[in-house]
Symmetry: C2
Subunit: 216 residues, 2 copies
């Protein structure tokens, strides 16, 4: 096995193109609705057009780009209504994960959730929205991870990728961290108490509040 250890070296062109293009879109380097010309991308990433095509097809079914027959690809624009609909799906799926995590997580994993909770509290108290946003994301990822629900996790990652832009906008809103913090602490408390129903309810309450915040 020649190149298993260091991803990026002998990685196949298609995977490389997919990763780079995906990163570029998620980092916001591509303006929404910007045209993605296969030749330009191929030259930019140093791979052939076929690899770009393969990557675009995959990104299309992940909902990150839009492709029209013989007319090319664009980065998909997520309207506010779509963002709400996506978050509603997140609401039920993360609720499922939280309920499962409440029964399936190990004690060590529960202490990690508690640790994250105190860190978040501190970040808000210190007035560091950036740190808080990161911890926020990590908390959601951990809960999913501890649930052991691979199918739900895969769906959620796809959904979240479509929301990066809106998430960014939301994190910087003043006053939002304070409200969000309490909801997150309630989620943690319910999971640590191993109460599936309360955990699901807490997640739903939190994401309902996110939906309301999105609608401005």
């Amino acid at each position: 096995m020649p190149n298993q250890s260091r991803p990026g070296t002998g990685e196949q062109a298609r995977r490389l193109a997919l990763g780079q293009l995906r990163e570029a879109i998620l980092r916001g380097e591509m303006v929404p609705a910007q045209r993605l010309v296969e030749n330009e991308l191929a030259e930019r990433f140093g791979v052939t057009r076929a690899s770009i095509r393969a990557a675009l097809i995959e990104l299309e079914s992940q909902g990150l780009v839009e492709r029209i027959r013989n007319r090319g690809s664009r980065v998909r624009v997520v309207t506010v209504e779509e963002a709400v609909a996506i978050t509603e799906c997140r609401l039920v799926l993360e609720g499922l994960c939280a309920a499962k995590a409440a029964t399936a997580a190990t004690d060590e994993q529960l202490t990690e959730l508690t640790r994250l909770g105190t860190a978040m509290r501190k970040a808000v108290a210190d007035g560091e929205p950036l740190t808080y946003s990161e911890l926020n994301h990590e908390l959601h990822v951990r809960i999913r991870e501890f649930s052991g629900q691979q199918t739900a996790v895969a769906l959620l990652e796809r959904l979240n990728a479509q929301l990066v832009r809106h998430r960014f906008q939301l994190a910087l809103r003043p006053g939002r961290p304070q409200q969000s913090l309490n909801e997150h602490l309630a989620m943690i408390e319910a999971i640590v108490a191993r109460d599936p129903q309360a955990a699901e309810a807490a997640v739903r309450a939190h994401l309902t509040s996110v939906i309301e915040a999105l609608r401005d």
Copy 2:
């Protein structure tokens, strides 16, 4: 616009290959875990390998086939545990759709649900499991459709495609239609009564029962 009217005539090779291959897998023509050699598929469908590759990439991200670097593609085998996990996701997502449908559906759409309910009752009474299975599927599709939740619908279609084999197995089980019928009628009743919470609960109850049935 030369060929907009009749899909299939001037359809591009990739779309054609994608559709045919997808159909073949869903119809069960491809045995689970069967190897899918690109050259064979290309010859069989009368398209080039590039089109087959594109179709395989798309089917991979839909969860219908599995691809391993330099080792080829196989139709993905869905274990019972995976089928359960997938159905748990369906449970929450269809619950969401049912709740939305209870408030968003038009009166005409509600009468259609009622019509479907009586048809299902008749099919069970007449002992026609095939007809019942079809109506069952149509009911779920309609509820999703009436919810107007495009994101959830897209996710559910993907999940359902992975379950065809298990669904088939389940439909032929004796005694199952009778139990399933009551649950379906409860779903319809709740939606027609425009009660979102009851609708979600009814859908959850139904799919919980499906999960139990899957575990044999």
